[in-house]
């Protein structure tokens, strides 16, 4: 749906900072998260996990556990279906392993018992005989021809013959003559980079309660980014029909992409089916870190040539990503995003994914892009240093703009990168003085955004209020923004609208909450649903006034006569029309179903000042400013929150967070004491500058904002630290020991 013709629309609700609908419940503890759901007779589930990085399961003896008083069911992989579809099959064996365990923490068996303590005791009684296999956790090692093979026969047809069977994905993008481009360069820098896997770090662990009866009908309550995705996975893994499962999403305590898959819901359903009782499973933090998906780890080579006045002549990148023990295509996204901020005559990005004995990668905001852009933006910054050029001017000189053939193929339409860079250049942060051991870093960021399958139902209540029913869990303020767009379109106050998230049996299919899609796509569907309701209300009023429907318009929340033959009638408000709906034809509602496209790409620029401690290697973030093209910012507080949250997660990724594996392939830091996410005392106030360049693919000009903010921080911080430390950093995280070693040689 295209941008509305009324380009100068004066928004009354959209763009304001209304009260968030979930705020009071969250701060008073009333909000019901996944672990808060309970049912009469409920059992407690617990999962036994592999202590080995890679091993064949010779046998599993569950008899002692089953004999323990209070244990009502024990399940293994044999209790789950074996779907033909590869993606569903991966979900199944990741929920409960069958022949092999593929990583430390891989689920092997599960019990349901009358209490948590009995369940904990019971899993210790399950005897698993393992044949330990060689393992590999490093992506470069996994790509070697003689590396231990994680899974056989999983390579796509694009992978050249002769490579390790761990290599599952190969991609290549670009255009132009690289050799000619590099020949024009006055300076060429080639660097290799590595980044550690990081976890999405949501505060709420995965939790669910599930019930599946002998009649095949089931219910699941869980924290997820997509209840329809949970339904599809559970149906496939349990071998039941989707219509027989109803999935209700709880309030969610963070997702960031990490709750776009299922880990425990099929297990809880299998335990319920066996025990005949509802079963609740709540993961521990240790389990979350070991067995739910972190993002990829990476190894990358970047080569960029530049003239002495700052024009990039050619650029090449090779990305090697590990998405854990299963194939995945995240490197496709990284390879496409790597050079997207630049207008380049010659560019090539090559990507590889290799399986390792790590947990299955699950998307993390803008999956694949932060690491690739970290490496690219680091080399651009180093070229600027070497050539004595201003890094912002160089980016402006080379910036992608309307008409640029992007590094991944399409020609850009209206994009906001130049405006975002100019805003950064004009901001006082860019010219503020720096002290000793301090450095300033800059990075561009990019994300695609998308729309997707969406259903919305909008009901006009008889008291003149409005109910919106949508199907995407609210991970970033969507209930507020959807209510605001409904109120805007209908011309009613925001507090007259309430938006709720439907279960899977109450609304048609919706894609998961990902891809920065919800405010864009659900908003678009809400506007269309509101317009359908308005059309119906105008029709009812036309009948009351006995005039043509075309002679009734909707303005300021009222039906009004319009045109030469409409006559004179007092406006009828939405509330007046709603109150007599039963007399004029019945309930009034609007709905809209769409697979939305036209989301519009998004660019951001981050500026960061750091100070490094030459004695300890510790880095302090002194100042941080985020500039982003948000399209129309529906609720600026939430937009700023996304921008700040992305920056903070990026600070953690850049400075401290990493999955650390021992020689035995076991995760060494599965807890928040040793896996260190930033806390408030680590951070300055994150300043934000929203640019509103309308997205032509949305009636209000909205574009997604949730993922772009995590793309630039890795490079912005690394560039700042490298300048402060006097040497180029090429590995993340830049933890104090690593930085100290780099500074002291």
């Amino acid at each position: 749906m295209a941008f509305d013709a009324q380009a100068k629309r004066n928004f009354k609700v959209v763009g304001t900072r209304v009260t968030r609908p979930d705020g009071i419940d969250k701060v008073t503890g009333k909000a019901a998260y996944g672990a808060d759901i309970a049912a009469p007779g409920m059992l407690y589930g617990r999962i036994l996990r592999s202590p080995h990085a890679h091993a064949r399961i010779v046998s599993i003896d569950t008899s002692a556990a089953e004999a323990l008083a209070g244990v009502k069911a024990v399940v293994t992989g044999a209790d789950l279906a074996q779907p033909d579809d590869e993606d569903f099959a991966d979900v199944a064996i990741n929920c409960l392993a069958r022949d092999k365990v593929l990583y430390d923490g891989h689920a092997v068996a599960a019990v349901a018992a009358k209490s948590k303590s009995i369940a904990k005791q019971a899993i210790r009684l399950i005897k698993v005989d393992y044949e330990i296999l060689p393992h590999v956790t490093d992506v470069d090692a996994a790509m070697q021809p003689d590396a231990p093979v994680v899974q056989e026969g999983r390579a796509l047809e694009t992978v050249p013959a002769g490579m390790s069977q761990n290599v599952t994905t190969h991609c290549q993008f670009g255009h132009g003559d690289l050799d000619a481009g590099f020949a024009k360069a006055d300076k060429i820098i080639e660097r290799s980079f590595k980044t550690a896997a990081t976890h999405q770090g949501y505060i709420e662990p995965q939790a669910c309660m599930a019930s599946l009866g002998s009649d095949g009908r089931g219910e699941v309550w869980c924290c997820t980014q997509g209840q329809y995705m949970v339904r599809a996975n559970c149906a496939a893994v349990l071998g039941v029909e989707e219509s027989q499962l109803r999935i209700t999403s709880s309030e969610i305590g963070g997702g960031f992409g990490g709750k776009t898959s299922t880990f425990i819901e099929p297990v809880a359903l299998a335990l319920s089916r066996k025990s005949g009782k509802p079963v609740k499973i709540v993961m521990t933090r240790d389990e979350v870190l070991k067995a739910t998906g972190p993002t990829i780890s990476s190894s990358m080579d970047i080569k960029i040539g530049m003239t002495k006045d700052g024009r990039i002549t050619a650029a090449r990148g090779e990305l090697r990503y590990s998405g854990g023990a299963y194939p995945n295509g995240t490197v496709n996204m990284g390879a496409q995003a790597a050079f997207a901020a630049y207008d380049l005559e010659a560019v090539e990005t090559v990507g590889w994914n290799a399986m390792t004995n790590r947990p299955k990668e699950i998307p993390y905001r803008a999956p694949g892009a932060p690491t690739a852009i970290y490496a690219v933006e680091s080399v651009v910054d180093e070229l600027c240093q070497e050539l004595g050029l201003d890094p912002l001017d160089v980016r402006l000189m080379n910036a992608a703009r309307k008409g640029t053939v992007s590094s991944y193929g399409p020609t850009f339409n209206d994009i906001g990168l130049v405006a975002t860079l100019e805003a950064a250049k004009a901001h006082p942060h860019y010219t503020a003085p720096l002290g000793e051991n301090q450095g300033r870093g800059l990075s561009c960021g990019f994300w695609f955004n998308f729309g997707g399958n969406t259903c919305v139902s909008l009901n006009i209540n008889d008291d003149g209020t409005v109910g919106v029913v949508e199907g995407n869990p609210d991970i970033g303020g969507s209930r507020a923004s959807i209510s605001m767009m409904a109120a805007e379109e209908l011309g009613v106050p925001y507090d007259k609208v309430r938006t709720v998230i439907a279960d899977t049996s109450s609304l048609g299919f919706n894609d998961i909450t990902d891809g920065s899609r919800v405010t864009f796509a659900v908003g678009l569907a809400t506007i269309e649903a509101a317009r359908a309701a308005i059309k119906e209300m105008c029709s009812r009023v036309a009948k009351i006034w006995d005039i043509d429907e075309d002679a009734v318009i909707w303005e300021d929340g009222c039906a009004k006569p319009a045109g030469p033959n409409a006559g004179t009638h007092p406006p009828m408000t939405l509330a007046e029309i709603a109150a007599i709906a039963g007399k004029t034809g019945g309930p009034i509602a609007g709905h809209h179903e769409v697979n939305a496209d036209g989301a519009g790409v998004s660019f951001g620029v981050h500026l960061c000042d750091t100070e490094v401690d030459p004695e300890t290697g510790a880095t302090k973030i002194l100042r941080y400013t985020v500039f982003q093209d948000a399209g129309k910012a529906v609720h600026p507080d939430y937009v700023e929150g996304q921008m700040q949250g992305g920056a903070v997660q990026g600070i953690g990724w850049a400075l401290n967070e990493e999955y650390i594996y021992g020689e035995d392939g076991r995760l060494q830091n599965a807890g928040f004491l040793d896996y260190r996410v930033p806390v408030a005392s680590d951070l300055p106030d994150i300043e934000t500058v929203i640019l509103e360049i309308p997205n032509p693919g949305h009636p209000y000009g909205v574009r997604g904002v949730g993922e772009t903010p995590i793309v630039p921080p890795l490079a912005a911080i690394s560039n700042a630290v490298s300048r402060a430390a006097g040497g180029r950093m090429t590995e993340l995280p830049m933890s104090p020991p690593r930085l100290l070693k780099a500074m002291t040689g």
């Binding site: 295509g329 996204m333 999956p367 399409p410 990902d514």
Partner: protein
């Protein structure tokens, strides 16, 4: 005829061609024609692809109109977080 650009790693499956011409008036016809002309592309098309039409990315919109005047770029299926 519609000209469609393939991303690099698909070209080996399409006789090394960067641009492929097929008879199509919408997204579905284009995918069907590509798979028929270059069977090596069929597995990727079956797994899922995106299509950029004059710079706007579509994920699964079969009946989106395509004409010879459009810039048509085949892309991997978009995923996000």
């Amino acid at each position: 005829m519609v000209r469609v650009k393939l991303w690099g790693s698909l070209r080996a499956l399409a006789d090394g061609e960067e641009w492929v011409e097929v008879e199509a008036s919408n997204f579905k016809e284009l995918l069907d024609a590509l798979a028929e002309k270059h069977p090596g592309l069929a597995p990727q098309i079956k797994r899922g692809v995106s299509l950029a039409l004059d710079g706007v990315i579509y994920r699964e919109a079969w009946f989106t109109k395509i004409g010879p005047e459009n810039e048509v770029i085949l892309m991997p299926y978009m995923v996000g977080g």
